[in-house]
Amino acid sequence: MTGLLDGVRVLDAAGQLGVPWIGRHLAHHGAEVVTFESSRFLPKIRSYVQPNAVERGVQPDDSTSLTDWHSGKLSIGLDLTKAEGQEIFDSLVRISDMVLTNRLPRASVAIGVTYERLLAVNPAIIMLHNTSYGLHGPYKDNGAFGDHIEAMSGMSHLLRDHRTNEPGSSNTLIVDYLAGLHGLFAVLEALREQRRTGHGQLIDISMLEVAVSSIGELVAEMSLSGEAPEAGNVSLEAVPYGVYPCDEGDKDCSISVYNEEQWVALCEEMDRSHWANEPRFASPGARRRNRADLDSEIGEWTYHQKPHALMYRLQRKGIPAGVVQNALDMVQDPQLSFRRFFPTYSHPAKGGVIGTGLAVNLGDPEPSALRTGFSMGQDTEYLVGELLGRSDEEMQRLMAEGVIEASPLQHWPGLGQHSGQRDS
């Protein structure tokens, strides 16, 4: 990728989800990003595999989540609960720009990853601390995952089935990504600030707050009027506006009509030009009042059509329409292909694997052999031995005492581009 962050070193002491995703973006833009593991605390994302994945040759500790979210990173095996483990961590902090973590405040204190302590070690350090509810307040030590925050923030309520009131979900843990996106912006801005002033900062991300922020206008509306917004696929501007079944109900395609021109075009495509004169559909207001009938009739028309053919057909007439694509559709999406959205990574066991494109991409080509799929502690020798200058004898002792760990499985070429101690 761009190498815009060449020379930046990041310690990714996070467990899972949004924060490793930040580290991944930093790594792809040239930063040296080190992730921490130990055989006592393997990150959960290692084991995020489907039950049948093992039959397909996926190792149970080598999930696609690990492959994707930790691509481009180094791995150190380090037991932070041991005093010497903390000393090694501090030595790395001294020569780093940034520490990322998402442990609960009490857990961070237990392993010494707190801003106060890091600041004493490196006054220019940037620390991003992502928690469920923030570092202060009555919920600060409460744990939650992204989908709990969806429920807490009002998002699940807004994603409910408007007919049955059954709560909904993004089912993509969108709150983790919101935290990741806010965190990424915050650390990039903090790096600019650090370069200007030499000072670091603490970035305190509450997943509840980023979730509420993403629907901030609706929260403000509620405070103003006390009225809840309508749930489901509704638009103030478009009617019809919805997702309609295609391919005998196997797939869906969205259709939206924002103006009279699009409405007339849709009626023509449906061979129902007479609708323009029917009182129940003649105006946007009438269509809104009779929306159930309208949606039902459109659904009957779309039901036997192929979704992509329908999308192209309506798009040619200037009508917003889009297939509700699944993973297979996305691999075949010509626009994503045109943008070379899916990178190929070099994986030690799987060979070339397809990854997910970056959310922040300046358009430069991906590095040709970005590595992924590391084994636990694969880079311990480089980081503790070469970078921190510990002797072979000391390394052996630390290994024997379980302070550091290193997997013998792989040795990647190309290490050492960031070698050498940095002035602290």
Binding site: T2, P51, M152, D161, I203, S206, D252, S256
Partner: protein, 392 residues
């Protein structure tokens, strides 16, 4: 640092992120103001102006100018302003036009250190570059719409302007990265932000496409965590989301159920691991027996002690009364807003604090005089002329 942003809500959110951190962010609207100012039903008065809550949320902390970017004098004036800018955030409808008519190329030629972020639905070029789009189209094409919603409902769009928030976040980070390059001695650039690609980059915690290609898993709509059958359970006074994200939570939950209900069968090993899914109805019954013994607050407190992940199913009224948000001062009231209206503050906090007081919202073009005299060197009379001609 100075930013101009024009277009719809994605660029507006990117601009707000910079404005919150103290940048001088100038919102450029068409003469008379963008329709989003009043297009949404919940409006409030700021001075003599009506402003929608949507517009307000996305434009807090900015200055406001007007300019007709569809007229040659308007584009020339933008070119003059660009010399005073670090970052130009351009959304639809201008991004496609400025790419096609060479405006971006000319701006970068005249101001080689300028960073331009061009936001479009599918990208500046490619087979879908001319497609019509909205939130439904983009969420659908990017793979986010299929899983979203309730198990019994159909694919359901993300609420409000979440798509713009997500894209705006990406656009802001791209801008920040490119600004760092300029500050390190590099040149400016045009960054082509595709909303579809940004959203596709967020496809599921188990990355959708790699997961499909390597593990044959296609994703589904419904419960995101199958650790317990129903996920949502009733309490004495509400509903909670209760999950067993990781298997070590199950024996703790089973023990809790047993303590509260006297049920001992729940402790049997046959309910551990994937085998539990065979007894969905029974497990749901036991969990419901447990949760109904508590109020939501009581259940949350006890669950936290036991390290079981539980959250209340809140509506927006609950959010406004949330004690954690209250304690952190997250929802802000400003003296220049009507009493009672509250807006979320910056989405994260920093130490030292990088965020200052909020600048009051103004009418469209409320900062025309100040901005055009100071930054474009226009005289008062020239500003008057351009206003009469409809350019400002």
């Amino acid at each position: 640092m100075r930013v101009v942003e024009c277009g719809s809500f994605a660029s507006a959110y990117a601009g707000r992120l910079f404005a919150d951190r103290g940048a001088d962010v100038i919102k450029l609207e068409r003469p008379g103001g963008d329709c989003a100012r009043e297009a949404f039903p919940k409006n409030f008065d700021v001075g003599s102006q009506k402003i929608s809550t949507s517009f307000a949320f996305f434009h807090i902390n900015k200055r406001f100018i007007t300019l007709d970017l569809n007229s040659p004098p308007g584009v020339r004036l933008l070119q003059a302003l660009a010399g005073q800018l670090d970052l130009l955030l351009v959304d639809e409808p201008y991004s496609t036009t400025f790419h096609a008519d060479g405006t971006f190329r000319r701006l970068l030629g005249e101001h080689p250190h300028l960073v331009i972020v061009a936001i479009t639905p599918f990208g500046l070029e490619g087979p879908y570059a001319g497609f019509q789009s909205d939130d439904l189209v983009l969420l659908g094409m990017s793979g986010l719409l299929g899983p979203a919603g309730s198990p019994s409902g159909g694919p359901t769009r993300f609420p409000g302007h979440m798509v713009d928030v997500l894209v705006g976040l990406s656009a802001a980070s791209s801008g920040s990265l490119a600004l760092a390059e300029v500050e390190s001695g590099g040149g400016g650039r045009v960054i082509d932000v595709s909303k579809e690609a940004v959203l596709a980059s967020l496809t599921t915690v188990a990355p959708a496409v790699p997961k499909y290609l390597q593990e044959g898993f296609m994703g589904y709509r419904g419960k995101s965590t199958p650790g317990v059958p129903s996920v949502y359970y009733p309490t004495k006074d509400g509903t909670v989301k209760l999950t067993v994200h990781v298997e070590w939570m199950w024996p703790i939950l089973a023990q809790w159920i047993s303590e509260v209900t006297g049920e001992t069968e729940v402790l049997s090993p046959q309910f551990e691991g994937v085998g539990r899914s065979r007894y969905g109805e029974l497990v749901d019954h036991w969990i419901t027996e447990l949760t109904q013994q508590f109020t939501t607050e009581e259940l949350l407190a006890e669950a936290q002690l036991r390290k079981i992940t539980v959250a209340p199913l809140n509506d927006l009224k609950d959010v406004l009364a949330n004690p954690q948000l209250e304690a952190r001062g997250y929802l802000r009231e400003e003296s220049w807003m009507p009493q009672g209206i509250r807006f979320p503050g910056p989405a994260y906090k920093t130490e030292p604090d990088q965020f200052g007081a909020w600048r009051p919202l103004k009418a469209a073009g409320g900062d025309n005089r100040e901005v055009y005299t100071q930054l474009a060197g226009l005289s008062e009379s020239r500003i008057g002329e351009l206003s009469r001609e409809g350019v400002l």
